[in-house]
């Protein structure tokens, strides 16, 4: 029996889990709605991790190719966002490992010219994201990015990272302690 037809309007208000099930049944509207709703979150996640627009584009595409290949492994009723982010996380890790492999093999054959002096940055209100996140160890940074940048819940982050909610809470708590020290030091400097 066929399910009810999904229009773009209904797809926009549907849960990700329901969209995921319809995507498994090859529903084009549901697939488009899912891509449209999840991609901005994934893109922000990758942009923070990679700090490079082109890498973020590549990682987004690679992640969706893997999601497409793995879509049969999504089980009805399971939270969809952690499922997608678990794949995104592994895609990022694979690219990171590959980049490191290339870096260790690369040899500089010529001395690079001195880069031109950068224009002074316009005055900012508050520290920039790179500075904030650079203060954190990798695992704490990942948790903070998922919680605060991608807007996931603690349980969703725990599922996406294959760890427990307690461990995620602990990492977030330690990250906040560290950030509190960084912000306090910044205020004293000013």
């Amino acid at each position: 029996m066929m399910g009810p037809r999904v229009t773009p309007e209904t797809a926009a208000s549907e849960g990700l889990e329901s969209l995921m099930c319809r995507y498994q049944q090859a529903d084009e509207e549901a697939a488009s709605a899912l891509i449209g709703r999840v991609s901005p979150l994934l893109f922000r996640y990758f942009l923070v991790q990679a700090s490079n627009r082109r890498y973020a584009d590549d990682l987004l595409q690679e992640t969706w190719m893997r999601i497409h290949k793995a879509r049969h492994a999504y089980r009805r009723g399971e939270p969809a966002l952690p499922w997608i982010f678990a794949i995104a996380r592994h895609t990022g890790l694979d690219h990171y490992r590959k980049a490191r492999r290339f870096e260790t093999r690369e040899k500089q054959v010529a001395v690079l010219p001195e880069p031109a002096a950068a224009n002074p940055d316009p005055p900012r209100e508050g520290p920039d994201l790179d500075t904030i996140l650079a203060a954190l160890p990798e695992r704490q940074r990942e948790v903070i990015v998922m919680l605060k940048i991608s807007g996931m819940t603690i349980d969703e982050v725990a599922r996406a990272t294959s760890s427990s909610a307690g461990s995620v809470k602990q990492k977030a708590h330690r990250a906040y302690q560290k950030l509190r020290e960084v912000f306090s030091a910044g205020r004293r400097m000013r």
Binding site: W64, H72, R75, R76, R159
Partner: protein, 239 residues
């Protein structure tokens, strides 16, 4: 500084660094590629179906191989020994089966394979020390090697069958899947030995029978790591 204030600083910094809508072109490309290749797929069966299948495979492998080799161990075990050993084996196998099921799907929960292996290698020496009291260590190696070999001869094909089922899903972490599969197949080998081996010397059972689980788990980890590295290399090849 409160957590709320820090949340605001983070949100402002994120909005400045990550402008919304910058990903529109990339989304268009993704959508084009996916819609072009959109076909219906059959979702994985519920998790309990796979867990039950893995436990059934474990039990079938152990029972069939023990029947083939001869059930010389079962008749010489007392009621207490049977009552302690076999339920402990079943419980640990259930845990390892659940770990295999979790490895098949992304974000299916925390990894249990390592826990199952540590539990098997840590708990069974205690269980065996409680139920076997003959601590004679003569001919330890000569009597032990055939048991280790027989246990691994059961564990390896069982592990291959588990890997075949694992491929039905989408394994993200092949090392974790390898440990889980190795632990479960090692437990099948250990169960076969408890049914087949009539040697009830405590040291023999603790060292050589438990070694089947340890070696199988390590083999699973090694093969899983190699499979994971090969898959990563295949995925990251430029088109």
């Amino acid at each position: 500084m409160t957590s709320g204030e820090m949340d605001k600083i983070l949100a402002k910094a994120a909005d400045r660094a990550l402008p919304r809508g910058a990903e529109a072109a990339a989304i268009g490309r993704v959508e084009g590629a996916i819609l072009k290749d959109l076909r219906p797929v059959r979702p994985l069966a519920p998790a309990w179906v796979f867990t039950l299948s893995f436990v059934a495979l474990f039990a079938a492998a152990a029972a069939a191989s023990a029947s083939a080799l001869g059930m010389h161990g079962l008749p010489v075990l007392s009621g207490l020994q049977r009552g302690l050993i076999f339920p402990a084996l079943l419980a640990t196998a259930w845990l390892a089966a659940a770990a295999c099921t979790r490895a098949m799907s992304p974000a299916a929960g925390s990894r249990l394979g390592g826990a199952a292996l540590v539990l098997a290698v840590g708990v069974f020496p205690i269980v065996f020390a409680l139920v076997f009291h003959d601590y004679d260590a003569r001919n330890l190696v000569r009597e032990g090697i055939p048991c280790l070999v027989a246990g691994l001869c059961v564990a390896i094909p069982t592990g291959l069958a588990i890997a075949w089922i694992l491929r039905r899903g989408f394994v993200l972490d092949w090392s974790a899947a390898g440990i889980a599969a190795g632990a479960l197949s090692g437990l099948a080998g250990l169960t076969m030995l408890e049914l087949h081996c009539a040697n009830l010397k405590a040291i023999h059972v603790i060292v050589w029978h438990v070694a089947v689980v340890l070696v199988s788990g390590m083999l699973g980890l090694g093969i899983g790591s190699i499979a994971g590295a090969a898959r990563r290399r295949a995925v990251s090849q430029p088109c």
